[in-house]
């Protein structure tokens, strides 16, 4: 059973992140220019998540992972960098699409900032990796289970595969990969989200 009820099992929302218990909504940093223009997916285009079906919008998406972006300067966030760069670290989950939605205000475009949630809380993510991205699991379907650890993939979406983590492929020690959270409820035929407790 889905947790609660909403149109189309919560897919009828213009947002992709469902906030259940909020930590902080952080707007300290500006969004990098490529945060408004990136493709989705951003890096690996051969094993595309089924949760991106029909999404042609550019820019970071709600539910995707905000990263530090030292290549763009001080106090800048966006999706992960490709090709790899050091010190691109996951910070939290973007709340909204950078480009906003038709017939709504577009605060990301207007302010140059896109808020992300961090500092704990519980969230439902409608965008997540459904296929392995790298190594021996590339192209294989991902099965999420309650209790799974969650990382940021090289595309900047959540995944339970540490080998696909953006920090791992950035040439950094796999031991340094940030644990973003823990799955509370896995996607099912009646739940189109990964519900997770955030650890960052």
């Amino acid at each position: 059973m889905a947790i609660g009820q909403a149109s189309q099992d919560f897919l009828g929302s213009s947002g992709r992140l469902r906030i259940m218990y909020v930590g902080h909504r952080n707007t300290l940093s500006a969004l990098a220019d490529d945060g408004f223009t990136q493709n989705n997916p951003r890096v690996v285009t051969t094993h595309v998540s089924t949760t991106l079906t029909g999404i042609t919008k550019k820019g970071v998406l709600g539910s995707s992972v905000a990263h530090t972006r030292p290549d763009q300067g001080n106090n800048i966030v966006a999706g992960p960098l490709a090709p790899a760069a050091l010190n691109t670290r996951p910070l939290g989950l973007f709340i909204n699409d950078a480009q906003g939605n038709a017939y709504e205000n577009s605060p990301g475009t207007a302010s140059g900032k896109v808020a992300y949630v961090h500092a704990g809380g519980t969230y439902g993510c409608q965008v997540y990796e459904t296929l392995g991205q790298a190594g021996g699991t590339a192209g294989n379907p991902i099965t999420y289970n309650s209790g799974d650890p969650i990382y940021s993939s090289m595309n900047g979406y959540i995944t339970n595969l540490a080998v696909d983590a953006s920090e791992g492929v950035n040439g950094q020690n796999i031991g340094n990969v940030t644990l973003l959270g823990t799955v509370k409820a896995a996607p099912s035929s009646s739940l189109a989200e990964v519900i997770l407790d955030l650890r960052v």
């Binding site: 800048i76 010190n87 910070l91 961090h118 704990g120």
Partner: protein, 240 residues
């Protein structure tokens, strides 16, 4: 204008504290401050001619004793009670070459958060730490701006100590041997107290990705000419 945007006196330097709480978590005052938390030098590992550990430029002009706002609060034990917090335990004599080796108690000194105020307080203000024996600290999670941080390498390893180091956004943050934040895990108090370094700073064992060393968070804003502050997204964890 600072990289944060916004305005404040002297580009945010007109504060009596060294901490700006950007996204608040908890201000924890459960534990008493160790007596040496009121008397320690700053930095607590003093510079000596024989084995100079460089002093952070952010401590220039600071003669006040006791833990400082923006420094790291560590778990401490009095020997009979564990309900204390304080600064780092290693005195200069301990850490300098020829000093004693880390003890079992040192392994229990772990970072908990960031002190919000100077233990000694400020002139013409209330002095709640002296009055209560407690010094509240900021606990994870949240975001905090710190105006006390290491500005040079502390331990001679892979480059001369005192060599300036670069703060870069995205770097992981650790608690230095002086109890200030540093991006170098080799300078972490826990690296030393876990016996990963010996008392002559020689490599005792591999420390890369050591699970013994606590990651305090990620630097999201680094010091510039506009504002001498490191903003940290605070999320304590250890290497996998």
């Amino acid at each position: 204008m600072s990289s944060y945007g916004g305005q404040s006196s002297q580009d945010f330097r007109g504060l009596s504290g060294r901490v700006r709480i950007l996204y608040r978590s908890h201000d924890n005052s459960l534990s008493l401050l160790m007596p040496d938390g009121f008397t320690q030098l700053n930095p607590p590992v003093p510079v000596t001619p024989s084995q100079a550990l460089p002093t952070s430029t952010t401590l220039s002009g600071v003669t006040k004793r006791g833990v400082l706002g923006g420094s790291v609060a560590f778990s401490r034990t009095s020997g009979t009670s564990d309900t204390y917090v304080g600064g780092p335990t290693r005195s200069g004599a301990n850490v300098q070459a020829g000093g004693d080796a880390p003890t079992a108690n040192d392994a229990r000194v772990r970072p908990l958060g960031f002190f919000l105020n100077d233990a000694a307080g400020n002139d013409y203000e209330n002095k709640p730490a002296i009055g209560s024996g407690k010094a509240p600290y900021f606990t994870p999670l949240g975001c905090i701006g710190l105006q006390a941080y290491e500005t040079a390498k502390q331990i001679e390893w892979g480059g001369a100590a005192a060599e300036p180091m670069a703060w870069t956004t995205g770097k992981l943050v650790f608690a230095s041997i002086n109890g200030l934040i540093t991006p170098r895990y080799r300078d972490a108090l826990e690296t030393y107290s876990a016996g990963l370094l010996d008392n002559t700073f020689a490599l005792a064992t591999a420390v890369t990705g050591s699970p013994r060393v606590t990651i305090l968070g990620v630097a999201v804003v680094v010091p510039t000419a506009d504002i001498p502050e490191v903003a940290v997204d605070v999320a304590f964890r250890n290497f996998a």
